[in-house]
Structure formats: structure tokens, C-alpha cells
Symmetry: D2
Subunit: 174 residues, 4 copies
């Protein structure tokens, strides 16, 4: 069971489209998987689900449960302002670290409109995951110029298709 986390709450995000692609790849390998889109976070998440309200937001608790029950993750991380979206880190801040992240495994996919491919974002996010006890697959995928690599919401850049396939296989064996 692998949960694919869409690392932004932007509506109709490219990250969600990449997650859909990844889900198909895993399904073709007979791996049960599920997409968790940060679009599902409560509107008042930053107040109702953090700090003194940790664990008290029923809507978010369902999301926490999904993370707790998953053994492996794929995080799809778009580049915003040279790093990951703030909402992705805010999401991590609302989890039960010990149950959701410790001693688990994950793969990272970075994407950007520009030419960096979220390289720094993946570096920063690896530090956070390692701090939380999640082992990160060495093969971190960078997908720069993602807009030029898709047609009709599908990834058509064959190099990217191949890289995702390879990463998925490595994650399964990790």
C-alpha cells in the first residue's frame, strides 16, 4: 500500500496530474495505492488542526489516519519560490510523526515550470523527512519544465515516463 501525496492544495494542480500518472504506473505493477491531495485540507487548517488543536479536527483526522496506515509514500513536490509549497510543510506539522512517518519509506518527485526541477525543494524536504524518521529513496526525481513535457494533462516526455517507471520500481524494492 503506497500513498501518493500531492504536495500542494492548488486547484487542478499539475502535481495532481503527475500523481495520477504515478498511480497508473503502480497499478500496472499490482501495487495498491491511493492519492492524497492536499486540496482536501480543511480551509481553516492552519488554525483548526495545528498546535493546541492537534488531533482535534475530525476532517483532518481522517487524513492523518490514511498517513498512519500507509507504509510507503510518494511525495509529488512542485517548486514554489525555490523550495516546496508552504502547505506541504504545514501538512507535515499537523501529523502524528511517530505513527505517520517514523521508520517508513518514501520516494520524492520534484517538478517545476522552470529549469530547476525543485532540486532545492527535494533537498529541504529530505531533511524534514529524515528528521521525522522517514527513509528517502536516493533516486530523487527532478522534472523541470514540466509544462513542456505534458500533452492533454498526460506526461508525454518519454524520458520522464521512463524515470518515473524506474523510480517506482526502486521504491517497491526499497
Amino acid at each position: 500500500m503506497i500513498t501518493i501525496v500531492v504536495g500542494t492544495n492548488r486547484k487542478d494542480s499539475v502535481s495532481f496530474k503527475v500523481a495520477l500518472h504515478y498511480a497508473e504506473v503502480l497499478k500496472a505493477k499490482n501495487i495498491t495505492n491511493s492519492i492524497l491531495n492536499l486540496r482536501e485540507l480543511p480551509e481553516d487548517y492552519i488554525i483548526s488542526a495545528l498546535y493546541e488543536n492537534i488531533g482535534k479536527n475530525e476532517q483532518f483526522n481522517k487524513i492523518r489516519d490514511r498517513m498512519n496506515k500507509s507504509e510507503k509514500f510518494v511525495f509529488v513536490v512542485p517548486e514554489y519560490n525555490g523550495s516546496f509549497p508552504g502547505i506541504l510543510k504545514a501538512f507535515i506539522d499537523g501529523l502524528d510523526r511517530a505513527k505517520a512517518l517514523a521508520d517508513k519509506k518514501c520516494a520524492l518527485v520534484g517538478l517545476s515550470a522552470g529549469d530547476q526541477g525543485a532540486g532545492l525543494a527535494l533537498s529541504h524536504f529530505t531533511d524534514i523527512l529524515n528528521y521525522c524518521g522517514t527513509n528517502v529513496l536516493a533516486y530523487r526525481l527532478r522534472l523541470p519544465k514540466i509544462g513542456d513535457s505534458m500533452t492533454d494533462s498526460k506526461i508525454t516526455n518519454q524520458l520522464y515516463v521512463s524515470k518515473i517507471h524506474n523510480q517506482a520500481q526502486k521504491l517497491i524494492e526499497f
Copy 2:
């Protein structure tokens, strides 16, 4: 004019207390300053002020204006899960980068309950600020075990008091 940003929206945060201390130090040096506490962010910030709603939230637009008008910043950054709080990055994601951050200057103060003093947080945040065009003072301050360093909400660790004083002076001359 220096704006001191409290890098969390936690209620009664230690970061706010450190910001109050920093404000006193700047005032004693005759530097006009103002505290911007992320506690002031709208409850539905992650929906109402980002992406297609950028610039459309009147409550947040007042905060954007304060950032746009300030030439220098101090960011007080508490360590959450091995990096900065997600809300701090989400705050950056809602700004007008060109007006708020480009070609400006700032100093960073990291603090933690544990012994890291937000070292990784400051590294990550420097990458983000540099990407946005903000020059970061080399002298990044780490204040580990901040709880043991305060009495009655005041910083009583004299080494920390001295370091803040030195950083403030460097920021003024930066």
C-alpha cells in the same frame, strides 16, 4: 524601518517573545521597527490568499503592504520538525515577491526547544530568500534550548542577549 516577522502562527509563541526582545534592542539603537506576527494571518489563508486568489484577500493585503514598504527584515524562525514552520513558507508564497522581497536585506534568528537551534531551518530559509532576491546577513543566529534561556518571558541567557545585540548592529550596517 525594520519589520520583525514572527515565523509562526502559534498562539503566545516563544518566537513572539523573542521578537519583542529584538524590537527593544532596535528601539534602543533608534531604529524604527514593527512586529508582524503570523498569528495575524486569516484563518482561511491557505485558500483565500493563495494561487487564483493571490492579492484578493483584503485582510492579507494589508500585511502584504507592510512587507512591501519595509526595506529590512528580521525573521524569527522556530524549529518545527527539523525545519521552519510550514506557515512561514506559506506566508512567503502569498507575497508579491518583486515588491516584498527582491533586493532587500534581512537577518535570521532560529530557535528551538531542542539542541539544534533551527540550524537546518535557517539553511532552508536562506535558499528561499535568496531565490526571492533577499540578501541574508551571514551571521545567522541559532538559539537552542530557548526554554532554558528565558525567565518570565524574557531572554535571560546573557550570551543570547549579547548575540542578538551583535546581530542587530550588523543588520543596521548591512
Copy 3:
């Protein structure tokens, strides 16, 4: 078979002493291991074993072979100037990445005289190892104030002893 790399070429380094401790821990767990001290690098390494001379220095080729044959590593990384020692990265630059590092696994131990415990060094080095294809155990160990934690060249800080034991066990199961 685990190779413990002493990440500096300093004579009589504390890192070497920590490596000796780690070797004992692994031995007690019946894991064959070997210490590779960067002190063994040729004096003219930066000329004779890099760039156009890659693979041509017989003395260094023996070290390359040891890396190629090992499946797991422990890197003991002292903090120099806020990161890892330059010689540790120069060592990586002289390896055959595909044979020495790709698809292997490692654990990182950082140490420092000061209070950072090589936190940034481990972050930087993780990026390098991931680039080279080496999976890094999430549980990165920081050992600040290492001088105060040793007596007669032995680690006597029981918290550190316990952490090393835990990391070694995790590396074996990784």
C-alpha cells in the same frame, strides 16, 4: 560487510576513535566490518588521483576497490567550517560512482567540538550521496560537544553510546 569511513585525514582524529567504537558495536552484532581512514589517502591525492588521473593511482585504487566491494557504509563526519571536511568530498570525487556508491546503503554520524553536531554537514552530504545513488538511513546521528563526551579516547556519554547502538541496528536492518 560494512565499511566505516573516517571522514577526515587529520592525524589521530576523534572521528577515528568514534569509528573504532562503531566497529566494536558491529562486531558484537556479528557484522563483519572494516575501517577506511582517509588518513590513508596519498599525499598528492588532489593531483594524482583526480580528473585525467582518475583510476591511475595504484595506492588509491586499492581504496577504491574496498569501496566497490562493500555493500553498506558508515560515514563518520566531523564538522569543519560548518560542513563536512573538504577531503571527504574530494574522496568521493575520486571514486567510481557506479561501482562504489550506486544502489548501496549507509548511515551517517556527525560530530563536532561545538554544539551543532555537524547537522548541516550531514544535510549536505546526504545530497551528495543521494546524487550518487546511495540510500541514506533516515536516522542521522549528531554528536555535538564530542570532546566532553569521551574519556581516554572512549565514548563515555551513555546517551551517545545508546544512539550509536540504535543506529547500527537500524543500518543492519536497512
Copy 4:
């Protein structure tokens, strides 16, 4: 007076060619400058100029003096194995931090054969410079696919030419 440091000791490096270009740009702006090529490091640098031999290698002491006398720097940083060359950090490790780096200012230029443009290298190196007290210009330049951007050892990619010009101007005003 600006010193341009070629961040590798590779013979006939592309970094040296980029440094030559930068020197011309600074000269055209009437800024005195000088190139310091790490190719000039002693062959046995890693033994004769570090640790117990710090400050004892006369050949390297001349280089240390050049760093001590310079107020601003440009570091040209090629990407090796996902970060800066080990020799660049080893060079930093042999300096007198207080005299060479503290309270000075610098600009960073990253270059790579591949598509990263040394992004992570510049992030790591910024941490090190900040630790040593050197203020880093926010506008860090990444020059990916540098091979495709040069003709007859000259930078012919006009976007890169323009970016270097802009950075040089910012460094002068920093």
C-alpha cells in the same frame, strides 16, 4: 579589489574560462580584480597545509595572503557529484577564517555540464560561507549546460552574458 576564485584544481577547467570572462566584465566596470585558480594549490596540500601544518606551507601562505587582502570575492563553482568540488572546501579549510572570510562579501556562480547548474552546490557553499561570516549576494547564478553555452572557450550564450553582467553590478553595489 575583487578576487575571483576558480573553485577547482582541474587543469584547463571551464571554471577558469568563466573566471576570465568575469574578470573582463569587472575590468570594463573599472574594478580591480585578480583570478585565484585552485590549480595553484601545492600538490601535497591535504597534508602540508592543513591541521597541525596550518599556516606552515609557504607556497600556500601566499595564497592565504591574497584572500586576507581581498574585500570581495566571486566564487566560480563547478558541480561535481551533486555539490561543489571537494578541493574547494579543502581550500576553505586551510584559510585563516577571521582574516580571509569574516565580514566580507561575495557572489556565487555555479556551472554544470548537466541541467542542475550547481544549484545544490551553491546552497551548500552558502551555508559554509555564512558560517565563516561571509555575506553572500542573494543573486546566485546558475549556468547549466555550460558546454553548450560556449564557443572557442568564450561564453556565447547571451542570456548567461547578461546574467553575469547583472550579478557583477550587484556585487559592486553590495
